[in-house]
């Protein structure tokens, strides 16, 4: 709602270096309804170079909401969906997605695991999903914000670009987990460190509000969860593709 009102104001300002998100592959309509929320003005230079060199390595580090249960969980969760969406978008580029996702990890715990992951996978891009566990444990905001800074610095010094991803929108537990301030801290750190933020919360909130996906339902079935993760993977690919295009056309790597 506020977005709509602000949008009117926003249109009055000239856009600067806005990477217009473009559809990647044939994106299902249910994913596309949230595509306008994928916004980012920060180019991903390292990723652009890697794509030009036909070899892109991605590391997803996250907690429980980057996982899906079940025997096909890993195939259906968003990291694997991102890989196939990118493969469609960039044919001929060898894309690998490594994951380090374990439930119930705070930002700081992931920072501790990061050096080993970076050394093992040598990624061009780190996608860091965090915030939920910190909110559940009521971790101090300063501590959370310092952990984010550290993680970003580590990824960068290893030569990788980084994308931050915030919490899921979870209507049932909305009144129990104070995501608000953690989401704001993530946003501010992202602005300050010039890191793209994948606003998973707003995307899922929109799906919930529009009824695209029934996020309230009590179910053991995996179909909706799988479709949500599929869309998140595709939308992440949209963000990445746009951030690469907004970069000046990358020079062809000398052969």
């Amino acid at each position: 709602m506020i977005r709509r009102i602000l949008l009117v104001l926003a249109l009055l300002l000239p856009p600067v270096a806005v990477a217009t998100a473009q559809t990647v592959g044939d994106m299902p309509a249910e994913c596309r309804v949230a595509q306008h929320l994928i916004e980012n003005g920060v180019p991903l230079q390292r990723v652009a170079k890697a794509i030009a060199a036909k070899r892109l390595s991605i590391l997803v580090i996250g907690a429980g909401s980057s996982l899906l249960p079940g025997p096909n969980g890993a195939q259906n969760a968003y990291p694997a969906r991102l890989r196939s969406a990118l493969a469609e978008q960039f044919p001929g580029v060898e894309i690998t997605v490594a994951t380090d996702v374990k439930a119930r990890r705070s930002a700081l715990e992931m920072v501790k695991a990061l050096p080993e992951d970076l050394a093992a996978t040598k990624p061009d891009l780190v996608i860091w999903q965090t915030g939920t566990v910190d909110a559940m444990q009521g971790i101090d905001q300063d501590e959370f914000s310092r952990a984010l800074d550290k993680g970003i610095a580590k990824a960068r010094s290893a030569g990788a670009d980084i994308i931050l991803m915030n919490s899921q929108y979870s209507p049932r537990t909305d009144s129990m987990i104070a995501l608000g301030t953690y989401g704001e801290t993530l946003r501010w750190v992202a602005v300050q460190r010039e890191v793209p933020l994948f606003d998973r919360f707003s995307v899922m909130k929109l799906w919930g509000d529009l009824g695209t996906f029934d996020l309230y339902s009590a179910t053991k079935k995996l179909d909706i969860a799988g479709r949500v993760h599929d869309c998140i993977g595709r939308l992440l690919a949209v963000l990445i593709a746009a951030a690469v295009k907004s970069e000046a056309p990358p020079e062809q790597a000398p052969k």
């Binding site: 709602m1 506020i2 977005r3 602000l6 949008l7 104001l9 926003a10 300002l13 600067v16 270096a17 806005v18 916004e39 980012n40 003005g41 429980g64 909401s65 996982l67 899906l68 249960p69 079940g70 439930a103 119930r104 939920t132 566990v133 559940m136 444990q137 009521g138 971790i139 101090d140 905001q141 501590e143 899921q168 929108y169 979870s170 209507p171 049932r172 537990t173 909305d174 009144s175 129990m176 987990i177 104070a178 301030t181 704001e184 946003r187 501010w188 602005v191 933020l197 606003d199 909130k205 919930g208 509000d209 009824g211 996020l215 309230y216 009590a218 179910t219 995996l222 969860a225 949500v228």
Partner: protein
């Protein structure tokens, strides 16, 4: 310095009433209606208004009691009030437990295995309930009352000093605020971290409100009415609004020069960031400038619903928290269509107004009744 001996300033009731409505709307998770609340257009939110006005009315009510009956009697009354708020808080906690126990039994979704972990604390209620009783464990949106309890519990000596050396009291308060920033002081919370509203920070606004009530506001009148100050306030509010715009539209983040970002972020709510105080003060300056104390509309029917809520702030605040739980319950169990969100929000406010009206009526009846009039200054001057 004597408390200002005039009749109750209805503007306080009006804005406290409005703040209570906004807090209710903000507390309903995923509520479309909450886009109207001020936190989306700047740095501060309804909490600042609530804490400031609570400080103001506390000084107004207990300041008079302290002058007439001395520090012991006034102190006892303040503590009694703090106790009432504690009881109210525990009551709300019981309702909260009921709600989430229900959710824990009725919800399962593979998408949210991580989030469901928040219900784990139900597995050891011995620890959780004890931590809640000592105000260390505070569920989401139940942070304001514990802050209020601590502020009132320590209020008697502050009031004593305010009545003798108001400027000194304000300086001590500001000093505590500064020391808190230097040494990172906060009350401990369970399971980790500190209080969401750090009492050592938020006391500044409470004491400032009290200081204004005891004559400070009168001394500031000349400043507040100066067009330069009002101009500055407007400029600052516009600046805050533009910054807030970039939160919703990251693409405009590029318009915020780096040094500005470095200076302003993060805007700390827990420790009541200076930017938040300035934002609240700007709002206050503009409000006082455009809404005079004797504004006839204050007595009109149109504003009565907000004013009557503001006059029963504790009861209506608690009711608001309960209603926000109930509203969330309706969204999860019945429907979360936007129409329903609007209807539930409106209905909630109507319930708050109706309850406040009943409380007013009951208070009048009690006063006129055959029994001798209640001698409770805490109520006679309105709730602190």
């Amino acid at each position: 310095m004597a408390p200002v001996k005039t009749e109750r300033d209805l503007r306080l009731d009006l804005f406290r009433g409005l703040a209570l409505w906004l807090i209710f709307l903000d507390h309903i998770p995923s509520n479309a209606v909450s886009w109207i609340t001020i936190r989306n257009y700047g740095f501060s939110d309804a909490t600042e208004i609530f804490v400031f006005i609570s400080g103001y009315t506390a000084a107004f009510v207990y300041g008079r009691a302290m002058q007439e009956h001395g520090i012991m009697v006034a102190g006892a009354r303040v503590l009694k009030r703090a106790w009432q708020i504690y009881v109210a808080h525990v009551f709300l906690f019981a309702i909260y437990l009921a709600e989430i126990s229900y959710v824990a039994h009725s919800f399962d979704n593979p998408l949210y295995t991580e989030e469901m972990g928040v219900l784990d604390f139900l597995k050891n209620p011995d620890v959780t309930i004890l931590q809640a009783l000592i105000l260390k464990f505070k569920p989401v949106n139940m942070d304001v009352l514990p802050l209020y309890i601590v502020l009132l519990a320590g209020f008697a000596p502050v009031l004593w000093l305010l009545l003798r050396a108001p400027s000194l009291a304000l300086i001590v308060s500001a000093l505590l605020y500064s020391l808190m920033w230097v040494f990172d002081w906060n009350f401990p919370a369970y399971p980790s971290g500190g209080w969401m509203f750090n009492p050592m920070a938020w006391q500044l606004l409470f004491v400032f409100g009290a200081w204004c009530a005891l004559g400070g506001a009168r001394n500031l009148t000349r400043w507040i009415n100066s067009p330069v100050l009002v101009g500055l306030a407007v400029v600052y509010l516009v600046f805050a609004c533009l910054i807030a715009l970039t939160w919703y539209f990251p693409r405009f983040g590029v318009y915020v020069p780096e040094f500005v970002g470095n200076v302003i972020y993060p805007i700390d709510k827990t420790n009541l960031d200076v930017l938040r105080i300035l934002h609240f003060l700007s709002l206050a300056v503009i409000t006082v400038y455009f809404v005079p104390r004797d504004w006839p509309t204050l007595r009109s029917k149109a504003l009565w619903p907000a004013i009557v809520c503001g006059q029963h702030s504790l009861e209506i605040f608690c009711l608001g928290v309960f209603l926000s739980f109930a509203a969330h319950f309706v969204f999860t169990e019945v429907s979360n269509r936007v129409v329903v969100q609007f209807a539930v929000s409106l209905l909630g406010i109507l319930v708050m107004v109706a309850a406040a009206a009943v409380l007013s009526w009951y208070k009048r009846v009690e006063r006129q009744g055959p029994r001798p009039p209640a001698t409770k200054p805490g109520y006679a001057g309105g709730d602190a």
